[in-house]
Amino acid sequence: MSTTDTTARQSTDVATTISTFTGRYVSLLPTFAAITILIALLVGAELYFGNFLTPRNVSALLLDNAYLMVLAVGMTFVIVTAGIDLSVGSVMAFTGILGASLIASGIPVIIVIPVMLVAGAAIGLLIGVLVQYFNVQPFIASLAGLFLGRGLAYVVSLNSIRVEDPVLVWMRTRIPLGDFYIAPTGIIAIFTVIIGALVMHFTRFGRTVYAVGGSEQSTRLMGLNVARTKVMVYVISGLCGGLAGLLLTAYTGAGYPRNGIGTELDVIAVVVIGGTLLTGGRGYVLGSMIGVFVFGTIKTIISFMGAEQSWTHIIVGVLLLVFVVVQRAIVSRSQQKE
């Protein structure tokens, strides 16, 4: 009798612990779900293939998706303010081909790289100004950015341009770390994630980004600078687009105006899978990194199985759906509590 009582009490204790935990960290739940899925994917693939979690594969996972990771950091800032940036894929293509063509015409890399970053940030600034000062919806403003970036990429060059510059070649040289290896492109991507996470959580600006996403009106009434913050997130996203253009050009050894078609959708998908709420106010840069790894792992598994790469997008689409439905449930539950 007493033993059943204890077990019953224990189980209610566990239940309350779980419910307080989920109640307190409700906004972390989607990110935990993403981590769980990532681990399940990696373990499942290792059990299925037997040779999946090799140092080579794990290293490639980071290097193949470095540009996506950088784009995801910028997109997280934008989505947390409840905006959206469709331009990132074409900004990446534009800055990539711009850099390649400048290098091909003999301009030193030390000038070319800042030019690429500034070009990306400039398109971001245009979008941000349209959104903030002219009340254009983020969707439409960044659509203009998408068209502009893609068109300018073709204005720079209609064909791909090879890059032989020693600095960019160095950026893709593999540095062995035991059995693993890493290239400067991967290090840059990781640094971008770290800086993004630090800015989001430990600076005034980062707190304001969350506040704007939570309630723009309240943020304004609190006297925080909403206008500057909203313009800045698009500039950051554009800057990340420029950096991603640099990474992709270094990684592939060429600038190509057709790069990154549809990448904006992949980026939005990985950010959502990583636990950022599209309605704004909640999200984590580190979560987005997990999302990128989920995406990359799915891609690797599919190429391991020798299946059509088109399955990647089908599976990512389904995963996106599941996450959005789960998010929807979480949001409506926390609203009920309020």
């Binding site: 009340n135 659509l143 068209f147 068109g151 078609i261």
Partner: protein, 348 residues
């Protein structure tokens, strides 16, 4: 002055200006010739080639009126084109009218099913339209690639090719298809209460629900209509190229369709919509496109011009620019009274 106030005045003026500039730049632009009882020339091409965009934009108008957006139309086009050509390819007699009819009907039904799916996500599960349709936008092209097996399926079928390139009386068949679609949608929306209810849902979903409007069904219908129209657009697109290319079919068409709808004066905030405005918007996009080609700009660079158009249009619609315009007007002594709506927008 009254005509200037009409909501379609500016979109129509933009289109006419564009056509006049084209004609001045190259008088051959407006030349239409009659050969064997069929009209040829740039204006006729615009009418013919605008069919897929027109159908997609028509559905998009309804979706946008409910405060939604449908990003998946390009993917639906790719799927329906792939379905139609794969059925034709597998049939024993691709040139037969029967197999063409089956292919077209099945392809459009696939569009319908995908539209039902989008509508379900948005109206029943309450997911944001951008994300709900993003799911299909991502997955749809993958499905289309699986249907075609990753190849570009090409088929020879005279009756199927007729859909996009044939002529009826003196004008292209594709032109008649989109005119029919526009007429049917206009009659359904404007001769019944459906259009008004759609606008009600778009203007204030909560208030219209309290007033007894079944918003769920209306939103769902809009996505279904968009899916069906995208399905037909996919059939026409595939018929034009006679090749099911899962990557390029309907590529970026969702964005051009949204642009056309916005150019036509329908606000992305939902509510009031204008089908005539969308028709003008599509014509403008199509005329701009052929003008760019006509001027010898590589087609790949065309997006720069569209970016400029998008920026100009959104700036013209912006309340801040309106208030600048008024202060300039007051300086010049042209008294333009600010309307109540403008005041409200500036205050906000």
């Amino acid at each position: 002055m009254k005509i200037v106030k009409h909501r379609l005045f500016w979109p129509a003026a933009a289109l006419v200006t564009l056509l006049i500039i084209n004609t001045i730049a190259n008088p051959n632009f407006a030349r239409v010739t009659l050969q064997d009882g069929q009209l040829y020339g740039n204006p006729i091409n615009i009418l013919r080639e605008s069919a897929p965009l027109m159908l997609v934009a028509l559905g998009m108008t309804l979706v946008i009126a409910t405060r939604g957006i449908d990003l998946s139309v390009g993917a639906i086009m790719a799927v329906s084109g792939a379905v139609a050509l794969t059925i034709l390819d597998a049939s024993e007699n691709p040139g037969g009218l029967g197999s063409v009819a089956v292919a077209v009907v099945v392809a459009v039904l696939v569009g319908l099913v995908l539209g039902v799916w989008n509508g379900f996500l948005v109206s029943v599960l309450g997911i944001q339209p951008i994300i709900a349709t993003l799911v299909l936008m991502l997955a749809g092209r993958g499905v289309a690639l699986l249907i075609t097996g990753g190849f570009i399926t090409t088929v020879n079928s005279a009756p199927y090719k007729f859909i996009a390139t044939g002529y009826l009386v003196v004008l292209p068949v594709a032109f008649f298809i989109w005119v029919a679609a526009v007429v049917i949608v206009s009659v359904l929306e404007r001769r019944t209460a459906l259009g008004m209810l759609t606008e009600a849902v778009g203007i204030n979903p909560e208030a219209s629900r309290l007033a007894g409007v079944r918003s769920r069904g209306i939103i769902w219908t809009a996505y279904i209509a968009s899916g069906v129209l995208a399905g037909i657009a996919g059939v026409i697109f595939a018929s034009n190229t006679m090749a099911a290319d899962a990557n390029s079919a309907g590529y970026l068409i969702e964005l051009y369709a949204i642009l056309a709808v916005v150019l036509g004066g329908t606000s992305l905030m939902g509510g009031k919509f204008s089908i005539a405005g969308t028709v003008i918007g599509v014509m403008t996009v199509q005329a701009l496109n052929s003008a760019i080609l006509f001027l010898g700009v590589p087609p790949a660079q065309a997006p720069v011009f569209f970016a400029a158009v998008v920026i100009i249009v959104v700036l013209l619609q912006s309340p801040r620019v309106h208030s600048y315009g008024r202060s300039v007007g007051q300086l010049l002594g042209v008294g333009v009274k600010p309307t109540r709506e403008d005041k409200k927008e500036v205050a906000a």
